[in-house]
């Protein structure tokens, strides 16, 4: 009897660990398998958001995400990028069910600190449940732009020349759709977001 008790006690700890591991695996579908070879989540991009909180691009694995790039002191296209994304959100069939997550990363690593990002988010009344404005180190900004196919160049006066795109990533971080239509909504892009959201649910 005593032997049996000891055996049970010895088995209890590994069992507990086993159960915890099973529970962890079941509740973390994002980490259940390897990141696909064509996923942006292969790229390590450390980000800091408008609340000063650190996160990695790959933390977004598991949910579809629209990614764009901007900078807060830009007056020409960047407000239009936000406008376009807001209009896109309103046009989603899935809009009523929580919509899609949006991540905008700044080109301007030197001036766009969390305070500047927060100010921009507040002035545009962005819903920070789904929207994130973030900064990254210059070398990481360059790599992120490279995978997104966005060109940018800092000029002498601190302004940036840049191309504009919104890129839809599926739950695994693969590019599902991309639009360079800025200033008005792109029906094909909206349909792709709806389809990707539906496929993920």
């Amino acid at each position: 009897m005593r032997f049996l008790l000891r055996l049970m006690r010895a088995a209890f700890v590994p069992l507990l660990f086993g159960a915890a591991a099973l529970f962890w695996a079941a509740t973390s579908p994002a980490r259940g398998s390897e990141v696909p070879t064509d996923s942006l989540y292969r790229l390590d991009v450390p980000l800091v958001d408008q609340d000063g909180k650190g996160q990695h691009l790959a933390d977004r694995r598991g949910r579809p995400l629209v990614v764009g790039m901007f900078y807060t002191s830009c007056h020409n296209v960047c407000p239009l990028i936000v406008d376009t994304m807001l209009a896109t959100e309103r046009a989603l069939a899935a809009g009523g069910r929580g919509g899609v997550d949006v991540l905008l990363v700044s080109f301007d690593a030197s001036r766009d600190d969390p305070i500047a990002l927060r100010r921009a988010a507040d002035s545009r009344k962005l819903d920070l449940q789904r929207w994130t404005l973030a900064r990254a180190e210059p070398a990481d900004v360059r790599k992120l732009a490279a995978v997104l196919g966005i060109q940018y160049r800092q000029l002498d006066d601190g302004e940036f020349n840049h191309s504009s795109a919104l890129v839809l990533l599926d739950a695994q971080g693969r590019i599902a759709a991309r639009t360079e239509t800025i200033g008005t909504t792109d029906a094909a892009f909206i349909a792709a977001i709806d389809a990707t959201l539906a496929a993920t649910e």
Binding site: T37, V77, A139, G149, Y152, H162
Partner: protein, 266 residues
């Protein structure tokens, strides 16, 4: 106690051997002074000179032999293991196998068929980075005796002659004639990746430049190109700005750059 001395001696000898082997394989960099110069890409998008901080540049492009050693140390960059997001299917395709150059590929030839991401990763393994366009252009403006030979028509002709050579010819080994700074092979061997290849933003049509398409380009719009007589350099920009970061070609290699050593580490 009697045995410790030979053991230390052996360890020391081994350490020296490792150190000398490392030194032998360490890439050579030379210091460039930087400065202000007239780039084909104006710094303000209109006419301002480019400013370049002092930096160091690799003397020669990275070779097949060097890249093979990198791939052995970082197997995630083998062509059979690289993530597709970092390199297209033609990555390192001229090699006989993922870990073998083969008879047709010489270790001293510049490595080509490498993506921008692979080039960046190699440079990071040397505690370096890719040079910026301005750094590359500044280094490439000099010939054996002059800081800036670009105004010399004879020099421009010599560089242009390279572009007339058929691209099917086997690439020469690295180690061509040195320029004033001691940098070799900037012209006449391969195209080279730069860190900011996706910053060159050349408009396909010059007529658009007076009327920047604000919906596509924020800020000052498309950059105006200067020095139109400098075709060889303009061709590089046209080629680089047409590339995606995963692209590889049989004539596109790279070299790395480092910041100038700071006063206290010199």
């Amino acid at each position: 106690m009697r045995h410790t001395f030979p053991r230390y001696a052996a360890a020391l000898a081994l350490l020296c051997a490792v150190a000398s082997a490392t030194v032998a394989r360490t890439a050579e960099y030379v210091a460039l002074p930087g400065g202000t110069f007239e780039s084909v890409l104006p710094a303000d998008g209109k006419s301002a000179d480019a400013k370049v901080a002092p930096f160091r540049l690799r003397v020669t492009p990275v070779t097949n032999g060097e890249f093979l050693a990198f791939v052995a140390a970082h197997p995630e960059w083998r062509r059979d293991r690289v993530a597709r997001i970092f390199a297209e299917a033609r990555y390192l395709q001229s090699w006989a196998a993922p870990d073998t150059l083969g008879a047709a590929v010489l270790p001293e030839q510049p490595v080509t068929n490498v993506s921008w991401f692979a080039a960046e990763a190699f440079c990071e393994s040397e505690s370096a980075r890719l040079p910026t366009w301005y750094e590359w252009e500044l280094a490439a403006a000099s010939d054996a005796t002059r800081v800036d030979a670009r105004a010399d028509p004879a020099w421009r002709e010599r560089i242009l002659a390279w572009y007339a050579r058929p691209s099917t010819e086997a690439l020469a080994p690295v180690g061509g004639e040195a320029n004033l700074y001691g940098v070799r092979d900037l012209h006449g061997l391969v195209w080279e990746w730069v860190d900011d290849f996706n910053a060159l933003l050349v408009s396909a049509d010059n007529r658009e430049q007076g009327d920047p398409d604000l919906l596509r380009f924020c800020g000052a719009g498309a950059i105006t190109l200067q020095q139109r007589e400098n075709y060889a350099v303009l061709m590089r920009i046209a080629m680089l700005s047409s590339l995606k970061a995963v692209d590889t070609t049989a004539n596109l290699g790279f070299r790395c750059a480092k910041p100038a050593p700071s006063e206290n580490t010199r």
